[in-house]
Amino acid sequence: MGGATVRIEGVTKAFGGRTVVDVPELVLGAHPIEGLIGPNGAGKTTLMRLVMHSIPIDSGSITFTTPGRDSVVVSSRHPHEIPPLGMVKTNQVIQDFRSLTIWDSLLLAATAASDERPNRIFSERSVVREHEDEIHAYLDKFEFDDPYGYARSGGEKKLLDILRCLLLKPQMLLLDEPTAGLPEDVTARVMELIVERATVGTSVVLVEHDLDLVWHLSQYVHFMAEGRVQLQGPPSEVRAHATVIEKYLGGGHA
């Protein structure tokens, strides 16, 4: 094992005086696939956004470590510097570039910053040549309505969001409710890809409400409620715990 990890230390975040996240100590990524579960409003999405520094933390620090490289305090880096370090996050709410086609959107994700300078107006051909195989591999696997047109349905946009992140070849992949809005058969194929990535060394954190998926895929589960991680352990343990059942699953689920 020994993939990329994120260490969260003393991190708090409050919105308008209400503490949403209060995590004294948490390590994500010690297992290939970890689940992050909890009731609505538990602070899961906020925590993921804090990790990506798309919102600033109030206190504490978040450190990202990839094997063989120095640790980086990502909580003091600009958000755009984090994906190149090897960590990306998919979006819970559908996010899209409305003027870019599906092909464009994938190519944008794959393109290196050095090819996007204002003087590189002749680099399209070489950029396409460099990335077309990997992009076509995804386009072949998932049947978009029109890969050279715009993403039409919410499902296509959601899938596109995940594929863009995969094209960045992350070592740490945070998936914020990837199945919400995806058709069932697409979910299965996405998860296949995710597991494939995890087996070759990418650390995956899965924020999900579909608990069967979490129990099935992850080796370790963090249970969050009221801004704190209340419980951690292998799926079987977390699943059997009284707190989880009370706070989250309700009587019927046990």
Binding site: K89, R98, E116, V128
Partner: protein, 313 residues
């Protein structure tokens, strides 16, 4: 035939000046297309950057007696720096805030041109500024040629940008900056670089205009030029590379070439009422366009119809 020739080219000075204005507005609208149409930066201070180039150049050449080329480069750089400073100041504002702030910037340039009399001469004017070369009585036509070559290069560049990774990045920034950031794109730096380059080019067009105008007055840098550029771009289509060309031909081409040169307006009307009439039409046109056809005559960007290169699997 002689009659037609005389009709078309009978007032060469008016014609050259009118065409110069058209080509210049095309150039400015193309640059605004990169800022607004692609990257989503609503710059309502075009004349400010252009005017900074024009007055910067004029002051250096006339007041400080700099050599022509040196002043041209310095004025261009000055406008570019202004682009970065203004861009940095408005970075966190929403669209309305950016429009207001850039409009204010242009007003500051106007007030400086009017107020800093030691440098600019104020209402008295600043001159005379000559062409850098002399090919006889029709040097102005040659100067129009120089401008046309430069604007042609800008048009070529803009069309290439649409087919390059750089254009894709700018469009992504304009569409959803937060999403582009989450993919590791340095969106702030991209916008600053874009503003530096496009504002500098606007400044260059201003500096070149100084030679055409010979005398510079604060009225050159009032809001009318901004309006003309915005109307041209919005009419043609702010999201299409050719929108600037189509729009400028239909607006400035009609008012400053066709009507001014070929319709014999009564002199009183031409001097006093005509410019105001032109502004009224531009204003009305802008309102009608934004209400009924905000994407202009050419419509939205259609990247799904772009060339098929690289699309074979």
């Amino acid at each position: 035939m002689n009659g037609l020739w005389d009709f078309l080219f009978g007032s060469p000075a008016f014609l050259t000046f009118g065409l110069y204005t058209v080509v210049m507005v095309i150039g400015l609208a193309l640059l605004l297309h990169l800022q607004m149409g692609l990257a989503g930066i609503g710059n309502f201070g075009v004349v400010g950057f252009w005017g900074l180039g024009m007055y910067g150049f004029g002051v250096l050449v006339v007041t400080y007696e700099w050599p022509y080329l040196g002043a041209l480069l310095a004025a261009t750089a000055l406008a570019g720096v202004a682009g970065v400073v203004v861009g940095w100041l408005v970075a966190d504002l929403d669209t309305d805030g950016v429009l207001g702030a850039t409009l204010s910037f242009a007003t500051i340039v106007l007030l400086l041109a009017d107020g800093e009399r030691d440098l600019t001469g104020g209402q008295v004017g600043l001159g005379t500024i000559d062409f850098p070369f002399d090919v006889g009585a029709r040097t102005d036509v040659a100067w129009l040629g120089v401008l046309t070559a430069i604007v042609g290069a800008i048009l070529y560049y803009v069309r290439r940008v649409h087919r390059s990774p750089y254009g894709r990045l700018l469009i992504a920034v304009g569409d959803n900056e937060a999403l582009a950031t989450s993919l590791g794109k340095a969106t702030f730096r991209s916008k600053m670089l874009l503003l530096a380059l496009t504002s500098a080019a606007m400044g260059l067009l201003g500096a070149l205009y100084a030679s055409m105008s010979h005398f510079l007055f604060p009225s050159h840098v009032d809001v009318r030029l901004t309006i003309a550029v915005v109307v041209a771009l919005v009419l043609g289509g702010s999201r299409q590379p050719l929108g600037a060309v189509v729009g400028a031909l239909l607006t400035v081409g009609l008012f400053d070439v066709v009507i001014k040169v070929y319709v014999r307006l009564p002199p009183d009307f031409a001097e006093q009422a005509y410019p105001k009439f032109q502004q009224m039409v531009y204003g009305g046109l802008l309102i009608v366009l934004l209400l009924f056809r905000p994407l202009g005559l050419l419509g939205d960007m259609r990247r799904d119809r772009l060339s098929k290169r690289g699309r074979h699997g």
